[in-house]
């Protein structure tokens, strides 16, 4: 833990600068530049709203915002996890020339994707104003919920960064697993309304993303408190996962260069 804190202090400026540079580069290299960060989730929201809201007659309150919240969180998790698998190989030219704690590469990438998620959440607030969604102080629960999303994502990414170095086809496996989790997370449907019991409860309790997204929707759209004991458990699991990932990286990171 002490080493982690010292390294974070030492490499924090580098991590932030690398994230800022990456964002600037993405803006500079694309025709519609930063607008894509908004256009992509917005278009997916319209597609899901058309298919499930109009064609399949889903009737959740504030359905468009409901989907948008799910997509914002999912996109963040999905992008971070996918990129973590190839993180060391993608940064081969750097990690083979200078030492840096390899999880700083993940943190920098999470900052880039986190920035995009925040833009989506700002749009969500705009949509909430537009649809006149009633708001209560319970909306503040979104802060701890987002923090747990970030810690959980970091934990998964650290483990996958490690496995991605040693298992060549990990990226293929992860693509399939992520698609499966996507459908089990209720991004575009309400798990409680669609699935029978006890499947719905099992999914909402056993799938951290489903649990956290459901909590965010509850506090942002429906003036309800999230399931506090459950998110407490997922916070502990996320912290344990992150600690395990950091420990694994510290133990093995200097052998990564020998493999890549």
């Amino acid at each position: 833990m002490g080493r982690f804190i010292n390294d974070m202090k030492r490499y924090w400026r580098y991590t932030v600068y690398a994230a800022k540079s990456q964002l600037k580069t993405e803006v500079a290299n694309s025709y519609l530049n930063w607008a894509w960060w908004v256009i992509e989730p917005f278009c997916f929201m319209l597609i899901y709203a058309f298919i499930f809201g109009y064609m399949l007659q889903r009737t959740e309150l504030y359905y468009n915002i409901y989907i948008f919240i799910g997509l914002a969180i999912w996109d963040f998790f999905n992008r971070c996890v996918k990129s973590s698998v190839r993180m060391v190989k993608r940064n081969k030219s750097i990690v083979s020339k200078v030492y840096l704690p390899k999880y700083t590469l993940i943190i920098s990438d999470m900052m880039v994707n986190g920035f995009k998620m925040m833009i989506c959440l700002l749009i969500t607030f705009g949509m909430m104003v537009f649809y006149r969604v009633p708001v209560s102080p319970l909306i503040l629960w979104m802060v701890p919920l987002l923090i747990i999303v970030i810690i959980f994502t970091f934990g998964c990414c650290t483990i996958l960064l490690h496995l991605g170095v040693f298992v060549d086809d990990m990226a293929n496996v992860i693509n399939i697993v992520l698609r499966f989790i996507f459908y089990l997370t209720g991004i575009f449907y309400n798990i409680k309304a669609i699935l029978p019991e006890p499947a719905a409860s099992i999914l909402l309790k056993g799938n951290p993303l489903a649990c956290l997204i459901d909590g965010l929707r509850s506090c942002m759209l429906y003036t309800q408190s999230p399931d506090l004991p459950l998110i407490g458990i997922w916070l502990l699991v996320s912290l344990a996962l992150s600690a395990l990932g950091i420990r694994t990286i510290y133990r093995s990171e200097n052998t990564y260069v020998k493999v890549i």
Binding site: A18, I94, S96, D169, V257, V259
Partner: protein
């Protein structure tokens, strides 16, 4: 007593059981993945005094670059220890790591910060680095648009201008075009001649090693064959290579 900058004790570095494998291959074989061990560095021990210039030579595959990377903390020792006595260290190698989508200027900042310099320190030295690299307007272009020579020029300039206590140099003395080669060689000599800097150079260029180094190490199959006064060691090495 002379201050010691680097202490290496019984260092062993192996490449074993760390090869990447695919799930398909593992399933088809239905047995454990091939774990051939190859020892690149085999129980090497030496000390480098502060301000000393150590040259390392040896035929291809003798473990020179592996040893250098272990000193830079990029490879972990499988056995033995490396003690840098609290000194900062940088590895100057051909094709130093850059983020290819970022500009040369941004990569200077990132490389400098990775070498342990603050944002302000790198910013202060930035004009000097850019001038030395001589890349003109390319400095604000993504590094992926650079030729390999331009890559090396930028890499050399960053490490040469942002000075660390210990410099590790891997075959970099022949960087870029003729003009830059001369400039980088002169800069290298001036850096090396600052007596408070410890330098470890890996090179096949025996003339350079003889001219620049205080001590030369001859590595063969991961072991030290001779280490000592450059003339004597290099004479034996030349005869061996005949």
């Amino acid at each position: 007593m002379d201050e010691i900058a680097i202490t290496v004790k019984d260092l062993k570095i192996r490449y074993k059981s760390v090869q990447a494998y695919s799930i398909k291959k593992s399933l088809l074989r239905l047995k454990s993945v091939d774990t051939k061990a190859f020892e690149a560095v085999r129980g090497v021990s030496f000390e480098v005094k502060k301000g000393e210039i150590l040259g390392i030579t040896g035929k291809n595959g003798s473990g020179k670059s592996t040893l250098l990377r272990a000193l830079a903390n990029i490879f972990s020792p499988d056995e033995g220890t490396i003690d840098l006595h609290g000194h900062s260290i940088s590895l100057l190698a051909i094709g130093v790591g850059f983020k290819s989508d970022l500009t040369g200027r941004e990569n200077i900042m990132l490389s400098g910060m990775l070498l342990g310099f603050s944002e302000q320190e790198v910013r202060d030295r930035m004009p000097e680095i850019i001038e030395f690299a001589g890349l003109g307007d390319f400095i604000d272009m993504p590094v992926r648009t650079y030729s390999s020579g331009m890559h090396s020029k930028l890499a050399f300039s960053i490490t040469a201008i942002l000075e660390t206590d210990i410099m590790l140099i891997d075959e970099v003395l022949s960087v870029g075009d003729e003009k830059f080669k001369k400039k980088s060689y002169a800069k290298m000599k001036s850096l090396i001649n600052q007596r408070n800097r410890t330098v470890v150079i890996v090179s096949h260029n025996l003339g350079t090693l003889e001219e620049l180094c205080d001590t030369v190490m001859w590595l063969h199959d991961g072991k030290i064959v001779r280490m000592g006064e450059p003339k004597a060691v290099l004479k034996e090495y030349r005869e061996f290579m005949k």
